[in-house]
Symmetry: C2
Subunit: 327 residues, 2 copies
């Protein structure tokens, strides 16, 4: 049995508990939290809840620690610190800061002899794999990544910070015509506005100036001003009834050519349709936790991304069985 | 530069020549043929044509030999023999015999200290990767593989063996309703007939009994009798004009669940749309040839499949650049 620990018990932490149920070779030993451990109720029988301050005391009870904090402020500190004590996996998803995060984790991991696999989720994660495989098979070509239809938590949070907004849910939606143009193999150049639209469901305070709120959303730099955005004002009851889930998904498309004169076109498409963004992410995290455990047993240490991991190491199945049934 | 050789100069061998043009870190040094070398015209300036009997004499001039023979009779003999002299990659695609081929290549490769990566193409190959990643992320789920729309060379050959047939082209076509049912996440049980239809374009001898030919096609065991098959008789001119290419493609879909009570559904889909089946296959082969070269330099030997190869080893890009731009 691979003994797992969780640091952080939010959406991802709860997802890991579910994912462990689907993987017979794994068990959840402990959840570490920054809250008062006595106040945290978990669902896994036999697992313990400890303070995040007590990680070091439990380092021999856990084979892989799964870091379930946020990418903005938690993981840049937690992953390099935790890899001094444990093999770790995280879902760090700030694309621009991956090289810096990699260096920090790599240094700490090599010093301690552990392995840290970073950015395991779907983007980065499975989409990174799709982009890499697409690039190596069609070196002459172009990449496209579309997200959605799905809830963007960052954009929903941005709306909630507007004065007069009680709650909000924002959906990112790929533009069907753009998807079709890419799938045709014509390698179009697409602007931000041409690729995605944004749809917002907003609960406003009673008596709030709806026109002002709508305008503040649509003109918000980085988040909305470069997109065609639709705003719907709804009641809290409607928000809870119709927008409680965290669905997401997306498409990675590589379009490229082959032939002596580049005369043949090819399109590779990888897509996801997810009922629960955090639960899918945690299913990816536990698979890479298995690989982290195995690779470290073989003496591998340092920071890795999903691109460094031999796919077969992710599977609990016997290699001969895999060759007979999945290859 | 990675020095490549080709054994066998048919559709795949010619595809390798094209693929090498798209990969600046590779050069084609030699083509080995069972025909008279003087009679084989190749397109790569500077590359030589040798007899397949002279492989051993050129073993130090080539880093990876790409085997471009057929899976029925060529590769089961050629791959284990060639791996005694070279690092090799092949596109062995008889699924049922992969375990046996693996064992034969593994034994020879370990004795000689070379690496042999087998079954590199799209199915097996990229579809194997899609199946494995799908299975590890959604352990509770179901796999579906659809092929087409595309030309099946085995089925086209089977039609050509019927008395009175001059030439033929067979297209395998996924049934749209089956694809939709799978994408919905309902995990349907589908029969062979429900998944694919077969469409045949046949050039018959003048005066041939068309009704008999059509009946022989539609009732042919294994190839056609389990499918809804359509037969069109056309002229040789039409065949050459409208059916000269070898397009293909397909879909691997993994549908599964997550959550404490399996309450959330997820669908992962990997699909290919290819103008040229052999050229796409060769683009995959050369990427795995790069990995074979690098892994053997690190001291790795034995037989491998695409599932054993760390994805990053396939790319000519610098790892730091990959982390900055593709992860």
């Amino acid at each position: 049995m691979i003994r797992l620990g969780i640091l952080g018990y939010g959406n991802l932490g709860r997802g890991i508990e579910c994912a462990v149920k689907h993987n017979a070779d794994m068990e959840l030993k402990a959840v570490f939290t920054r809250r008062d451990p006595a106040a945290v109720q978990i669902r896994t029988e036999g697992a313990r809840v400890y303070s995040a301050n007590d990680l070091a005391a439990h380092k021999d009870e856990i084979d892989v620690l799964i870091l379930c904090g946020g990418s903005a402020t938690d993981l840049p500190e937690q992953t390099p610190a935790a890899v001094k004590l444990f093999n770790v996996v995280d879902s760090f998803d700030t694309h621009a800061r991956i090289p810096e995060h990699f260096e920090n984790v790599d240094k700490a991991a090599k010093e301690s002899g552990h392995i840290g696999i970073i950015s395991c989720g779907w983007d980065p994660g499975m989409f990174s794999l799709a982009r890499l495989y697409g690039n190596v098979i069609l070196p002459e070509g172009k990449d496209y990544t579309f997200w959605g239809k799905g809830v963007s938590q960052g954009h929903s949070d941005a709306i909630r910070r507007i004065k007069g907004v009680v709650d909000a849910r924002q959906y990112t939606i790929p533009v069907p015509a753009a998807l079709e143009a890419v799938r045709s193999g014509s390698c179009p150049d697409l602007t931000t506005r041409q690729k995605h639209t944004r749809e917002c469901f907003v609960v406003a305070e009673e008596g709030a100036d709806l026109a002002r709120i709508e305008n503040e959303i649509k003109t918000m730099p980085n988040y909305f001003s470069d997109y065609d955005t639709t705003v719907h004002f709804i009641s809290m009851e409607e928000l809870k009834r119709d927008h409680a889930g965290l669905p997401h998904g997306g498409f990675v498309i590589r379009s490229g050519v082959s032939g002596w004169n580049n005369e043949n076109k090819h399109t590779i498409e990888y897509s996801l349709k997810l009922d629960s963004n955090p639960e899918f992410t945690t299913q990816v995290l536990v698979a890479f936790a298995r690989a982290a455990y195995r690779l470290n047993k073989e003496g591998v240490c340092g920071c890795k991304t999903v691109l460094d991991i031999p796919p077969i190491m992710l599977s609990a199945m016997d290699p001969a069985e895999i060759r007979a049934h999945l290859v």
